[in-house]
């Protein structure tokens, strides 16, 4: 039969339409996860209606004391712990990450560049629980000796290990950004005889600003959501931490500790899901920021 006969053409067209429909269906099904997740977290937290706790008490005032009479559920200690740990990890990882990014993108010779990327990917591929274990057997044990602490776990250690965990994400995003700086800009700068320091400080830095911002945001989103490492290293104490040497309990650790022993649909269950919902919303908000910054970087690269 003639291969271009109308019948075969129609079958082909039809089968293509079927494939197309299946692909679209798969996509929609997959995407509905996200909406389902957001909706379900909202439902389980009962934040919309029937949330058993005054929101101000929940976020700021009350301690986390589910066993007290009457029980009180407040996550202020967890919010403070999360902010301390994530802040510390950013303070440590951002300068180093930018340095590594600038190094790989600008001054490393090609063979070194080719080593750096897999090295960072190995760092990113180590699971959270292994980082937790590593921190436990190295830093926690050492801190007990160095600082004469009864138990070595503290927010400082959690922050240090967290910094190592978010470092590869910050570094590779920064490297990508520095690489996307237009070549004419670099050529123009170096043909004027400026040093690498001057070019980085006065020229590249400005051109890379949106991308670097995205790198920091990405690191922050990671740091806020990281669970196992902070669970194992921060000490899991419900007291409000006053310094980095105190034990604390970041939000994620609170969730991981308490969920297993919570009666379904109780007030405590609502409190946990409300915390989870806040975390989800914050991370998604950061992600929106990253998206905007990335669009800016892309415009830069195309302009």
């Amino acid at each position: 039969m003639n291969p271009s006969s109308p019948r075969i053409g129609r079958i082909r067209y039809l089968s293509d339409a079927v494939v197309r429909g299946c692909c679209l269906l798969a996509l929609c099904l997959g995407i509905s996860f996200l909406l389902l997740m957001i909706g379900f977290m909202w439902r389980e937290s009962s934040l919309g209606i029937g949330f058993g706790i005054n929101l101000y008490h929940f976020l700021v005032k009350e301690p986390w004391a589910p066993l007290a009479t009457p029980p009180s559920y407040g996550i202020a200690h967890a919010v403070i712990s999360t902010l301390l740990v994530a802040g510390l990890s950013l303070v440590l990882a951002v300068p180093l990450g930018f340095g590594i990014g600038l190094f790989t993108a600008e001054i490393a010779p090609l063979p070194v560049q080719q080593i750096m990327q897999p090295a960072l990917e190995v760092l990113a591929g180590i699971p959270s629980v292994v980082y937790g274990f590593f921190g436990y057997v190295t830093l926690v044990k050492s801190f007990e000796g160095w600082f004469d602490m009864p138990t070595g776990e503290c927010l400082l250690i959690a922050g240090i290990i967290l910094a190592v965990m978010i470092l590869p994400f910050i570094a590779s995003t920064a490297a990508e950004t520095f690489r996307s700086i237009p070549g004419e800009l670099k050529d123009a700068a170096f043909s004027l005889g400026v040093t690498h320091l001057y070019a980085s400080r006065r020229i590249f830095w400005r051109a890379a600003l949106p991308g670097l911002f995205a790198a920091v945001a990405l690191g922050m989103a990671r740091a806020l959501g990281e669970t196992l490492a902070v669970l194992m290293l921060a000490g899991n104490s419900v007291a409000v931490p006053h310094s980095l040497f105190d034990r604390g309990q970041p939000l994620t650790a609170l969730l991981a500790t308490e969920l297993g022993e919570t009666a379904v649909y109780s007030v405590k269950y609502q409190a946990l899901f409300a915390s989870g919902f806040f975390l989800l919303v914050i991370v998604l908000g950061i992600n929106i920021l990253i998206w905007i910054m990335k669009q800016k970087v892309m415009q830069h690269a195309h302009a």
Partner: protein, 300 residues
């Protein structure tokens, strides 16, 4: 005066000869040294961590450690981790089986059928959001939705579905990106010959893009297998003697490691478990990287 070598390295700087020039150069030297130090740090960190785990765990590795189930008092202090290895594999396989069809279809749609439309942009953004959701939120959602609401109970099935949620966005993004990396000229030529989009995908795009896709799948699976947070409350159990059942919970490597450390059962066993986990993932991820690197050069 700058030496000829300096003149060569900073062309145009000869006019600024003198003190300020020398100061600028020495400052720049310091700056570059600092950057080299940063780079060295980034290289030494992973090497040091892996080396530390190797030196601490290598002596725990043995045939019994791999192929036996946990024994001793407290449970896990002796014996092996076979049920955990089994459980991790089962979870990964289940998650991949569930997520791959959806992610493949979705990626193909975004890259081929819906390219350039506002719909595709919005969906891609949602997928990236899904990829950014913290692991513990997946665990929370899986617990509330699958374990409690759908009454799956803490089981292999629930855990597999949660891991599928986690793998879906990562696989989808890599499928889309590998397809987009194929030169548009191939598409134009094929389509101008009157073939269907599906034919184009099977015969022209797939041979060029499959390496990138497989690499993405491997990375996604490695990412999901290593994380304990999502399966802590959906699939994992403290002890099992092995054997798999969709309705029953399983032991997994990351949760087993967590239990060994948090209950202070045995650090030797914990070192061994961490080493098995990390070596497995390293092997897995390295193969993905190699595949991707080879994939950069397309043979016709």
């Amino acid at each position: 005066m700058p030496t000829p070598e300096q003149t060569l390295k900073y062309p145009g700087a000869t006019m600024a000869a003198g003190d300020s020039f020398r100061r600028a150069v020495s400052r720049d030297r310091f700056f570059q040294g600092l950057l080299w130090a940063c780079g060295l740090c980034g290289f030494l960190l992973p090497v040091a961590i892996i080396a530390y785990l190797l030196s601490g765990g290598i002596h725990s590795l043995s045939r019994t450690f791999i192929f036996d189930y946990p024994r001793g008092t407290p449970l896990g202090a002796r014996g092996g981790i076979w049920p955990a290895i089994q459980g991790s594999f089962a979870l990964a396989a289940l998650g991949l089986g569930l997520s791959l069809p959806l992610a493949l279809g979705g990626g193909i749609y975004l890259a081929e059928y819906g390219r350039g439309r506002a719909f595709a942009t919005v969906v891609r953004f949602l997928v990236e959001c899904l990829a950014a959701v913290p692991m513990i939120i997946y665990g929370l959602f899986g617990y509330a939705f699958l374990v409690v609401f759908l009454k799956f109970g803490v089981s292999l099935l629930a855990g597999g579905i949660v891991l599928a949620f986690i793998m879906f966005p990562i696989i989808l993004i890599s499928v889309q990106e590998s397809l987009l990396a194929v030169d548009d000229a191939y598409r134009d030529m094929a389509l101008s010959l009157g073939v269907t989009r599906f034919y184009l995908f099977r015969k022209v795009l797939l041979p060029q893009a499959w390496r990138g896709m497989v690499a993405g799948v491997v990375l996604a699976v490695g990412h999901a297998v290593g994380s304990a947070a999502p399966i802590l409350f959906t699939a994992s159990i403290y002890f099992s003697k092995g054997g798999l059942d969709l309705r029953e919970p399983v032991m997994t490597l990351p949760t087993h490691l967590y239990n060994l450390v948090s209950e202070a059962i045995s650090f030797d066993q914990a070192f061994g478990t961490a080493l098995v986990l990390i070596l497995g993932l390293l092997l897995f991820n390295t193969s993905a990287l190699l595949l991707r690197r080879i994939g950069g050069v397309n043979s016709p």
